[in-house]
Amino acid sequence: MPGDERRISANVVLRAEGLSKQFGPVTVLSDVTLDIVAGEIHAIIGENGAGKSTLMRLLAGYADPTAGDLFLDGAPVRFANPHQAQDAGIVLVHQEILLADGLTVAENLFLGRELTRNGIVDDRTMKRIAAAKLAELGCRISPNALVRDIALADRQLVQIARALLDARRLVIFDEPTAVLTDEEVHRLLDIILLLKEQGIAVLYISHRLEEVQRLADKVTVLRDGRMVGTYPGQTLSQMEMAHLMVGRELAALYPPKKAVPSGEPILAVRNATVAGFAEDVSFSVRRGEILGFAGMIGAGRTELFEGLIGLRHAVGEVELNGKPIAIRSQQQAIAAGIGYLTEDRKGKGLLLQERLAPNLTLSALRTFHPGLYLRSRREAAALDEAVSSYDIRLKSLKVRAGQLSGGNQQKLLLAKVLLTDPSVVIIDEPTRGIDIANKAQIYAFIQDLVAEGRACIVISSEMQELIGICDRIIVMRRGRVSGEVSGDEMTENNIAFLATSDAAAEPAAWQPERSLQGGR
């Protein structure tokens, strides 16, 4: 079945033949052959670490293949750098956010290809185009905003807009929707269809298989760096895709729900306010309960919880196990037994240049290494244990955290937070950029950890996942709680209504989150 279309048709923009990539002794990609056809949306799917991003980097000139060739319009080609690929009309939207924090949105959009008039940069035009491009994507941030001050989702949109400026032959989207809300995703998919109409080839990577199913004309599946095959898009069900990716039967995505817990609340929050982001939020969570927080990006959920655990300035009352506590720093939160797993695992979660063991114990230094000294043997054992119990896939225990694939980084982060033995675990976007098999595992972990008597709060922009795992969901809108659903009320419609109704009524006044100076 692999290689439905081995002949070079006139429409093939880019052909990859026998591509392989090794990092030192480690082979991450071997013998991949691919035809990318103009006006076609070609999805690449595979588990975390299957080599998708690596393949895309080879195609767009960011890295050199160890073996294999590329053909542009049938002629062999070699991109010495991304610039040459860009000149050939090939652009890549990276999985990681690659923007300069200290520059404005417009400056980032046009970085390296500024428009000038008589040698002077034409800021007015660039800002205009930037605003227009962003609006097309449904992003309403100002082109003058500093990238440092805008939310992750907006950054992703800026990155997409940047690629679209240059889209001529082939646009590669590497998990563009991981950090986007459903609404933003819809808009992006429309734009991608528009690209297709214009005869532009699109390579599309996503772990959200429903998107793949909606969009893809062709689907190529990678497993462990090797091609499983290329298939016509519409014929594959999501289940079949998952099966091809994983190579075995998958159990259900969501674990079966346990009885609704009825214990005493562990954590109760009253009238919490984080200036500029969240106002007057009250809720409580019980032992054994999984509480969801839904809302659009910018609803203030992340900031609310960063406030509650002392990473931002916040006011309000917090009770833990019935006793009021004041948390002024993340240290105190950890000591009190509240663990927080950040949504920004690369920027705030892991030391990417550091090995795995130090990353694993970083939050738990105090308890894990009693006394002054590090217990390196204990640390090594803990890593072994984490690797096996969280099923972290790696090729060597000596790799740096940054070299793990996204899903495995997320598992490491989960292990890191749980090492502090929290009684309340707050997980912000638990499965962002995570493949379906890993997702199921992470859901199972969440289930396990509440089964041990902890409480878990899940913040997610994927309604499906909240509905799938939570006992109860609180919906936030513009910094306030707009409602709460549980049991049968937990439907996409209800949640969407609570999350957006007001915002939809007055879109002009609605500004996505922006970090305000008041914070910290």
């Binding site: 610039h83 970085l111 100002s142 500029g276 409602g483 609570l498």
Partner: protein, 330 residues
């Protein structure tokens, strides 16, 4: 399902609050002028201010260059000794030309100074970018090299400018145009050009991007090597311009010329609001920073209650306070 009604919406601050960040150094400057006036009313006399600002011109001009280097993510410790070196070779060049070309040797010498400055900058840039050596160390190395070269060329003594050129050259430092001292005009011109390049030209964007995030710059097709090297070359040109203005002031180059200027220059840049981590540079803040430094020194001379031994301490304290004003005006 329980719906909660929405009360007043959260306020989001306006995008366009005239940025206090940029105003920081100017506020510090204003505070200093006020304090100076209280301590000694002569402080605000036209002569005094014009003297002080004229003096700050050297540091300001060099610091404009340093703003490029620092914003591109580099650092240059060699500027002081580079200034001495350029001053020295320029004077030697002019003296050599003087017998044959008379005062024409002054403009010729200026052009020569510029060429030498560009070359020195290129050397620094190449060591840092091609040699991939930490800028601190690379320019510490060239600092020693330039300083030693001038000591060697002067045989450990001074290199005075030819008497025949002295008077013709004098106005470059002591002259005025429309009442404004020429060095002030030159430093304003340098700053203005610097601002245009940094804020209004492609190169400026690339410079800031390189300093803000090298990977992003590289992925955006910006040559980090080229961008950073050019920053050092700009720095070299600025040092040369400062040297050109400097010659008539002291009339000689000595092995101690320009000593510790590098610290003043970096201080001016940082007081001006550019961070040493790289990223966006603030040219006008830098100029304000240079003036602030010179004003502090001036204040020390004009005020009488600080023991001469403690001058450095008081300066240190004032600089820290200026930075605090800077920071908390944010």
């Amino acid at each position: 399902m329980t719906a909660v009604t929405q009360t007043a919406p959260l306020t989001h601050e306006r995008e366009f609050n005239i940025s206090w960040v940029d105003a920081g150094p100017f506020l510090a400057l204003a505070a200093l002028l006020l304090i100076g006036f209280i301590i000694n009313p002569d402080f605000l006399s036209v002569t005094n201010l014009s003297n002080v600002i004229t003096r700050s011109a050297f540091i300001a001009i060099i610091a404009v260059g340093a703003t490029f280097v620092i914003s591109s993510g580099g650092l240059d410790l060699s500027v002081g000794s580079m200034a001495a070196f350029i001053t020295g070779v320029t004077i030697m060049f002019m003296n050599m030309m003087a017998p044959d070309f008379g005062t024409w040797s002054i403009p010729a010498g200026m052009a020569f100074a510029l060429v030498v400055g560009l070359a020195c900058g290129l050397v620094n840039g190449a060591i840092v970018t091609v040699g991939k050596i930490e800028p601190f160390i690379a320019t510490l190395g060239t600092m020693g090299i330039f300083r030693a070269l001038i000591t060697y060329m002067s045989d450990g003594g001074t290199i005075p400018i030819d008497r025949s050129l002295r008077d013709a050259y004098r106005p470059v430092y002591f002259g005025t145009v429309a009442g404004i001292p020429i060095p002030i005009l030159i430093s304003l011109a340098v700053a203005a050009i610097g601002a245009v390049v940094l804020y209004k030209m492609k190169y400026g964007r690339r410079c800031a991007a390189t300093g803000a995030n090298e990977d992003v710059a590289r992925y955006s097709g910006i040559s980090v090597v080229r961008t950073r090297t050019i920053a050092y070359v700009i720095q070299g040109a600025c040092v040369a311009i400062a040297a050109i203005c400097y010659v008539p002031r002291l009339g000689a180059a000595t092995p101690t010329t320009g000593q510790l200027w590098e610290l003043q220059v970096i201080t001016a840049v940082v007081i001006g609001g550019t961070t040493l981590r790289g990223g966006k540079g603030r040219i006008w803040g830098t100029v304000a920073g240079a003036v602030i430094l010179e004003l502090i020194a001036n204040l020390m001379v004009l005020s009488d209650f600080v023991s001469e031994y403690l001058v450095a301490a008081v300066q240190g304290v004032i600089i820290i306070i200026a930075m605090l004003i800077q920071r908390f005006s944010k």
